[in-house]
């Protein structure tokens, strides 16, 4: 029976950070010898212990997307209220923490804006605690913060959330393991094949080299794509700090098929 990362506090046989870091480094060196750098995480990445039994061991099967896979669900104003993009007004009072705005553009693999698609986020509060019954971290719950939001991208592919900077938190992957502060993102494209779920990080986090989830992306340039930039232009006078994070989805196949004539299907 598996347990969530933070349960099972009695276990004392956790590996050290040194051991985990050595494993991360070994895999990184192995991947560095590859001609084509990996741009996505390895799904087989043992330093993240929960992945060991939960990744397919057979190669993903190459398939041409067909019919339904080339379309995407449609979202409208009945799905998402503009208020859902403000995570600071969901309760009766102001949440504690650094007020921030996270904004950016969602584009596809050809650089085209992804319009009117759904972006969902969820995160810990400023103390690193999630509103989740399985989060046992001994940090306070903020009665004024839930930490989940939704938005639709506009015609330029732009999204924007008002929230609180989440705190780092401990987990049970190894001894003294801490996740770098992050915001979970879920994004839809114009095709279901572009569906993606990821985590956005904050610049300069000292926990980056130690974190096996972040380090499962073994190429530094690829990892950097998950780190937002501090954006002074979107900071607001005596109110909040701005972060910018742009998201690139995989390329759509409609274009790919037309331009390359490369797909076997019509």
């Amino acid at each position: 029976m598996t347990t969530p990362e933070r349960d099972d506090a009695s276990r004392d046989d956790l590996p050290s950070q040194t051991a985990i870091s050595a494993e991360i480094e070994r895999i990184r060196e192995e991947d560095a010898r590859s001609v084509v750098p990996r741009t996505q995480p390895r799904i087989d990445f043992a330093p993240y212990r929960s992945s060991i039994l939960r990744h397919p061991t057979k190669d993903l099967h190459q398939a041409d997307p067909e019919t339904i896979e080339l379309a995407s669900p449609v979202w409208g104003h009945q799905d998402v209220s503009p208020l859902e993009a403000d995570l600071t007004i969901q309760r009766n009072g102001e949440p504690i923490g650094e007020r921030i705005r996270i904004s950016g553009r969602v584009v596809d693999g050809d650089g085209r804006p992804v319009r009117r698609q759904l972006v969902e986020i969820w995160q810990a509060n400023a103390a690193g605690r999630y509103v989740h019954k399985r989060d046992q971290h001994a940090a306070p719950i903020d009665p004024n913060f839930t930490g989940a939001g939704r938005a639709l991208t506009d015609d330029e592919g732009t999204y924007s959330f008002l929230t609180i900077k989440p705190g780092p938190y401990p987990w049970r992957n190894h001894r003294n393991a801490w996740r770098p502060a992050h915001v979970h993102f879920s994004i839809f494209g114009t095709e279901f094949t572009q569906r993606m779920i990821t985590q956005m990080y904050f610049p300069g986090d000292p926990l980056f080299p130690l974190d096996p989830i972040y380090q499962s992306i073994t190429d530094q340039h690829a990892r950097d794509r998950l780190v937002a930039q501090y954006d002074h232009d979107s900071s607001e006078h005596e109110w909040l700090l701005g972060y910018r994070w742009d998201i690139v989805l995989t390329g759509s196949h409609a274009t790919w098929t037309e331009r390359d004539g490369g797909a076997d299907h019509v």
């Binding site: 992945s51 990744h55 398939a63 339904i68 998950l226």
Partner: protein
């Protein structure tokens, strides 16, 4: 993929695991009900998500995306706040403590004459570092299944992992095995990097 046609194109942002705490962020009331159970064509789609030891995964989530009973792909909004008279074709369900997920939906018809009807499935879980795509085919139409390009490209022994099982009463069972014996076939589409 970085051939000439895509050189200079932006590189996709990497995925990351959905983690253990997505339940307050992603699942929502009615997410698993693409149609009400009172719908005349309502079908239960359900199954268990298991790991390499065959143990159920209680913190996985599935999304399905499918055509309607006439093979039409919906362009209607409203999946998050459903109108029971409008079929949007998309749903989301987390697994329960026993690793079991369940949707109420309809059997999709083929989107093209003679093609094999299937439901597109996206799987995420704690411990799974990137989302996975697969397909749940309806098991009935042997001729169209035999002619299906994807199924035909698979080894005999792996093909059944993509076929739903029709149960008594009409429910469609589709188990997802992330690893090990009868590991589900997961898909990589062109323009998806490793």
């Amino acid at each position: 993929m970085s051939d000439d046609a895509t050189a200079g194109a932006p590189v996709a942002t990497p995925g990351q695991t959905v983690g253990p705490f997505f339940h307050f962020g992603l699942p929502y009331a009615g997410g698993e009900s693409l149609v009400p159970t009172s719908h005349p064509g309502a079908v239960r789609l359900h199954g268990t998500v298991t790991d390499g030891d065959g143990d159920p995964i209680p913190d996985a989530m599935l999304e399905i995306w499918q055509a309607d009973e006439q093979g039409n792909i919906s362009t209607e909004p409203g999946s998050l706040r459903r109108d029971p008279y409008v079929f949007t074709g998309w749903g989301r369900a987390a697994t329960d403590a026993a690793g079991h997920y369940r949707f109420t939906t309809v059997n999709p018809d083929a989107t093209d004459e003679g093609s094999a009807p299937f439901i597109s499935v996206c799987v995420v879980a704690r411990g799974l570092l990137n989302r996975l795509f697969t397909r749940a085919y309806l098991p009935e139409d042997a001729a169209s299944l035999a002619a299906d390009p994807l199924l035909s490209s698979l080894d005999e022994e792996r093909r059944p992992t993509l076929l739903g099982t029709r149960e008594e009463g009409g429910a469609l069972r589709f188990d997802v095995r992330l690893q090990g014996e009868n590991e589900t076939v997961f898909l990589q589409f062109p323009r998806h990097d490793a």
